[in-house]
């Protein structure tokens, strides 16, 4: 599990872990908690292009549907098959095994720091 303090965030309650030219993306523990038990995850296929701010996937709980937004422009290099098979990983380990997609990007947009995101959620 990544240390949440070292990650960057979006206002859509996603986290981004930057490693070279690849950004790993997931939803935050706060978002997972708000959704409740996650029962279905729909992710873009490897090789698909994604555009910053556009919906690229869905995260469904028993009660509601959350959208996955691409936090960067780029190409999906990997989707997490483990969460598709076991969506509960998003609840049990949102910052680790519950990661969703890895995106190869050219340029990183402005993202929120841990402190800025914490201020946003009030937690």
């Amino acid at each position: 599990m990544a240390d949440p303090k070292t990650l960057q965030y979006t206002a859509e309650h996603e986290w981004v872990l930057v490693d070279g030219a690849v950004a790993t993306v997931g939803i935050t523990a706060y978002a997972a908690e708000k959704l409740g038990d996650i029962v279905f995850v729909d992710l873009p296929k490897a090789g698909s292009s994604v555009a910053e701010g556009k919906v690229v996937g869905e995260i469904e709980s028993t009660k509601s549907v959350g959208e996955l937004f691409a936090p960067v422009n780029g190409t999906v290099v990997e989707a997490n098959d483990a969460v598709v098979a076991s969506p509960e990983l998003v609840n049990s380990d949102p910052f680790g095994e519950g990661w969703l997609i890895k995106v190869e990007y050219a340029e990183l947009p402005a993202l929120l720091s841990f402190d800025e995101y914490s201020k946003l959620t009030g937690e």
Binding site: G36, D37, F40, S61, T62, K63, V65
Partner: protein
């Protein structure tokens, strides 16, 4: 909107609950996992705080005749201690609320209404009282309601310290009957009723004793696997059981027969009742009917999603979820009669893509029959 909370609120906070607004009340939506809470009710037991429900006492010499006039069912026919599911109809034939009515005495009935309809129900009953010799007393603020639901519920109640002096022992209490009892020195009503499709009980106690009753039940229930359960699991449980939720399957524009509740309206009872003329005339010829839909895969249709039969829009979903017990998507929907036969294949528009779904009879889930 008011922002009320249950007398049990602090216990829920201490148990780590998340809260949701429900009809102006802050109520627990889940404690940790809504799926785990759902499964606990199906396999062991869950305890729900439903103190937001409204309790209205109708008493007086004319109470039986009054309820036969004011409600859709023949309440005068139920026995002492018996409970009955009923409807409060508008003159138009639409539904003001769905209710459970308990007979407390020859001349007294406890009417339990949805939290969001408390004031419309009290207003309608008061208005309908007219020349009847009845008193209508809104006791909602004084009574708390705790539900214990699941196959192990009886053992839990029997093991709970302080619950005593049952007029009818639990092993003799039939489904949809109630008994007077005591919790300590205080009056307690135990109904073998619920909203989950499992065996279980609903306990009515005065509000200032609700916290001690909750704690006694939790304490006795822990060895049985009893867990506190929130409104998220209550909703998936009642959906699997095919039970309607007011505001979703029922509203002022829906006739009982459309919702499959024609049997709740006692057209054979003597005398007039509010809504009779409209019910006898029937709903419009093109009125849609409530059906169950089951889908493949994991993507559930949800409230307000549209339903298609080929290219034709034929209805809309009122409640839907991926069924925790069954593992496939289930939904209740109103569809055109021509598309309502069991076995018909329809399509749900799930956020822009069509998902196949078959019409099935309700309920989706039925517990093994062992009503004692």
């Amino acid at each position: 909107m008011s922002d009320r909370s249950s007398p049990l609120h602090q216990l829920h906070v201490d148990a780590g609950a998340s809260f949701t607004d429900f009809a102006g009340w802050q109520m627990p939506v889940r404690y940790s996992s809504d799926l785990a809470e759902h499964h606990a009710v199906r396999t062991a037991a869950g305890i729900f705080d439903i103190s937001h429900m409204a309790e209205i006492l109708v008493s007086g010499p004319d109470a039986p005749a009054f309820l036969d006039y004011a409600l859709a069912g023949k309440l005068s026919a139920i026995g002492l201690g018996q409970a009955k599911y009923s409807l409060l109809l508008a003159e138009s034939g639409g539904i003001i609320d769905d209710l459970v009515v308990y007979r407390r005495a020859d001349d007294a009935f406890l009417v339990v209404a949805n939290a969001g309809n408390r004031f419309p129900v009290v207003a309608a009953l008061t208005e309908r009282a007219g020349d009847f010799d009845v008193t209508i007393e809104d006791q909602s603020d004084d009574i708390s309601l705790i539900a214990v639901q699941g196959p192990l519920s009886r053992g839990i109640l029997e093991a709970t310290a302080g619950i005593a002096q049952l007029a009818t022992p639990l092993d003799e209490l039939k489904y949809y009957w109630s008994t007077d009892a005591k919790f300590g020195d205080l009056p307690l009503i135990i109904g073998r009723t619920g909203y989950t499709g499992e065996d279980g009980y609903e306990l009515y106690v005065q509000a200032d004793a609700a916290a001690s009753l909750w704690e006694a039940l939790i304490s006795a229930g822990a060895p049985f696997g009893l867990v506190p359960a929130g409104l998220a699991s209550r909703d998936t449980l009642r959906l699997e059981a095919g039970m309607p939720l007011y505001g979703h399957e029922l509203n002022l524009d829906t006739f009982p027969v459309q919702a499959g509740l024609g049997r709740v309206v006692a057209l054979t009872k003597e005398g007039d009742f509010v809504g009779r003329a409209a019910i006898e005339a029937g709903p419009p010829a093109d009125a849609r009917v409530l059906v169950g839909l089951v889908g493949e895969g994991k993507r559930a249709g949800r409230a307000d999603y549209l339903v298609f039969d080929g290219d034709d829009e034929v209805g809309n979903i009122t409640s839907g979820a991926l069924s925790p017990t069954l593992g496939y998507p289930i939904a209740m929907a109103y569809v055109d009669v021509a598309s309502s036969a069991a076995g018909t294949t329809l399509e749900i528009d799930v956020r822009g893509s069509r998902v196949a779904a078959s019409v099935v009879p309700l309920p989706f889930y039925k517990k093994e029959e062992n009503h004692g």
